[in-house]
């Protein structure tokens, strides 16, 4: 569904990603690990089309279509969605109004679906509030998921959906992510794909990624079994990854 081919990009002349290649198939979920500042969020934002990140080389294909030059809203309407780790406060725009603006842009989400989803995510009282204004960390995460439920994307990027979420809600967040991925219903064949950044890996108890990769200093390194990779990182840290990779080289 998504192909990143030899992508190199920078911001303000500073190189952040170098020769990144990644392929995520239909229905596949990939976990993305990496230390702080390694370029994980940048990769997600580059796929989303943030204009600050200037593509120097390579291209991004979505369903075989080159989207490298497309704007964020065009990518969004094609079916790419992203849940941010720390989204901005949008003063004056109410969460409920935002969802109504998004409604019907892709697929047919109804007013009822909005109310239902908000209730499920314990966000009914947040609909008349300014987006993210005074939201706690966990509320931000749930609001991001609520927006994705309404947006209904086919390729979903989640930037640390588990950070700041309390234990009571992590199960709920996991369930909603599975719904987004079409995994909650056994016979759902909608085949959504996802790229999920996680540090602690809590979310992996609920969302089963098919593969995982590690990003170090702006490049994708290991790709493999998510559980194995997470265990290695937890046991030995990213320093060991770097050492191991340099040995391989």
């Amino acid at each position: 569904m998504l192909e990143v081919e030899n992508l190199s990009l920078g911001i303000d002349g500073r190189k952040i990603l170098t020769d990144v290649s990644l392929s995520i198939g239909e229905g596949e979920t990939m976990a993305l690990f990496g230390p702080n500042g390694s370029g994980k969020t940048t990769l997600l934002k580059a796929i989303m089309g943030f204009p600050a990140y200037k593509v120097e080389m390579g291209r991004i294909l979505f369903r075989s279509y080159d989207i490298t030059e497309l704007s964020m809203d065009e990518r969004s309407r094609m079916g790419i969605g992203m849940a941010f780790q720390t989204p901005p406060v949008v003063r004056g725009v109410k969460l409920g109004d935002m969802l109504r603006l998004m409604m019907g842009r892709r697929g047919t989400v109804s007013e009822e679906k909005i109310s239902e989803s908000a209730e499920r995510l314990n966000l009914t009282d947040f609909l008349p509030r300014n987006i993210n204004l005074g939201f706690s960390g966990g509320e931000v995460k749930r609001s991001e998921l609520l927006q994705l439920l309404v947006q209904h994307p086919d390729f979903i990027m989640l930037d640390e959906p588990d950070s700041g979420v309390d234990l009571e809600n992590i199960h709920l967040v996991g369930d909603v992510i599975n719904e987004l991925l079409g995994k909650s219903k056994a016979r759902d064949k909608s085949l959504k794909s996802a790229l999920v950044i996680t540090h602690a890996g809590y979310i992996l108890d609920y969302v089963n990624p098919d593969r995982a990769c590690i990003m170090l200093e702006g490049s994708i390194r290991c790709i493999g079994n998510p559980r194995d990779i997470l265990r290695e990182i937890q046991e030995k840290g990213y320093e060991e990854c770097a050492r191991c990779l340099s040995l391989k080289q």
């Binding site: 943030f50 964020m72 969004s76 901005p88 406060v89 949008v90 003063r91 004056g92 998004m102 842009r105």
Partner: protein, 409 residues
């Protein structure tokens, strides 16, 4: 009569007195003389293009959901009506003849010799309205008043007095606008509000002027014990120069004054608009909120709160959005506290819409224009408490008309 004579003398002394704020306007280039037109039997008799213009400023010629109406074109009062017994609506000149006591209110909340504009309103008066809610009455439907400028280079000088007697409630919408094809003129409007004990006035003013029109409103409100004065001012259309600084005096315990202003400055427009509240009674409260947008014009957004009685609470908020490279917003919030046991605060922010916010909405599928419009709409959507639904709708309509326009982008 002696008092009125003394007032005229004062006015004469101020005929050349420049106002402390706003560009000075040469009043001699305008005419204040014109023959008065005959009055109408109903607002519906107004020509369609006049009705349409008035509607844009919240005035409904069909008078649906209105408790009363006042319509003045240039120097002629064309129509007045009151549909409720406890409500009086008439021209101020008629009211001055009818009620001898009205002279006690005349120039009590605004000084006649404040500047050349107040002087002109006294010396070359063309009516204005008198609206009064009788004691204990609740006029729940809004009263509408329209001041219409329909003559090129005319100076429309009006003086309005609004009285909410003890325990009464009154909602007013005033629409000021120019006729089709009118480019230049000046509107000088004096408005004096008297909110008696436990009375309640909401006053919503929509200004739809033209590119070369100068506007100098001068307003004052005296709010007695337990009284509430809520003023909403909206100006989204081009205007050459607008300067006003209405003042509310909270003179009774627990009196409340709230000012909301929504301004959009087009290229070539210059607006100097503020609101001032003098809190001179214990437990009185004030809130001044301004939302300003420039798409090339110049805005000075002022606010001044004066706390001179114990246990008062007052807040001032000026927010400005600069949507184009041209234009300026100059926010001047002032707090003046004279006692230790008072609570006064302000916040001011001026800038362009954060790119980050637009981009965030774009990731949800909105185009850059749609995202900007959503943010601007939200910015202008002040939650006005205590306003009847019809007036909330009128205010929304007045702001939407402008914000949907392409020139914002």
């Amino acid at each position: 009569m002696f008092e009125l004579k003394a007032i005229r003398e004062k006015a004469k002394g101020a005929e050349r007195k420049t106002a402390p704020l706003g560009p000075d306007i040469d009043l001699t280039i305008f005419t204040s003389e014109a023959e008065e037109l005959d009055s109408l039997g109903a607002l519906g008799e107004l020509p369609p293009e006049v009705k349409e213009k008035a509607l844009g400023a919240g005035i409904d010629a069909e008078e649906e959901a209105r408790a009363g109406s006042f319509f003045q074109m240039d120097n002629s009062v064309l129509f007045t009506s009151s549909r409720e017994e406890a409500l009086e609506v008439m021209s101020i000149t008629e009211a001055l003849k009818k009620y001898a006591w009205l002279k006690d209110y005349w120039w009590r909340a605004v000084k006649v010799d404040a500047d050349k504009y107040t002087a002109q309103a006294e010396l070359k008066l063309h009516h204005g309205y008198f609206i009064r809610a009788l004691p204990g009455s609740k006029v729940s439907l809004p009263v509408q008043a329209c001041l219409y400028l329909n003559r090129e280079m005319f100076s429309q000088n009006v003086h309005n007095i609004i009285i909410a007697e003890k325990g009464s409630e009154l909602h007013i919408i005033t629409g000021c606008t120019t006729g089709k094809g009118i480019k230049s003129g000046i509107h000088v409007g004096i408005s004096e509000f008297f909110i008696k004990k436990n009375a309640h006035i909401t006053f919503s003013m929509i200004h739809n002027w033209a590119e070369e029109v100068a506007v100098r409103p001068r307003s004052g409100a005296i709010v007695e014990e337990g009284g509430v004065f809520l003023s909403n001012y909206i100006c989204m259309k081009p205007v050459r120069t607008l300067q006003m600084y209405p003042v509310a005096y909270c003179t009774g315990t627990g009196a409340i004054a709230r000012f909301n202003s929504i301004l959009l400055a087009h290229e070539g427009s210059s607006m100097d608009v503020g609101s001032r509240v003098i809190l001179s009674a214990p437990h009185s409260r004030a809130e001044v909120i301004a939302r300003t947008i420039t798409v090339g014009g110049d805005i000075i957004s002022r606010g001044h709160l004066v706390g001179e009685a114990p246990y008062i609470k007052a807040h001032l908020e000026c927010r400005g959005l600069i949507l184009k490279d041209k234009g300026r917003i100059y926010a001047i919030p002032e707090l003046e506290g004279k006692l230790p046991n008072i609570d006064m605060s302000h916040e001011a922010a001026v800038g362009k819409i954060a790119e980050e916010e637009i981009q965030y909405l774009m990731t949800r599928g909105l185009t850059a224009e749609e995202a900007t419009a959503a943010i601007v709409r939200g910015f202008l959507d002040i939650d006005i408490k205590g306003l009847p639904e019809q007036l909330k709708d009128e205010i929304k309509r007045a702001t939407r008309m402008a914000e949907d326009a392409e020139h914002l982008f």
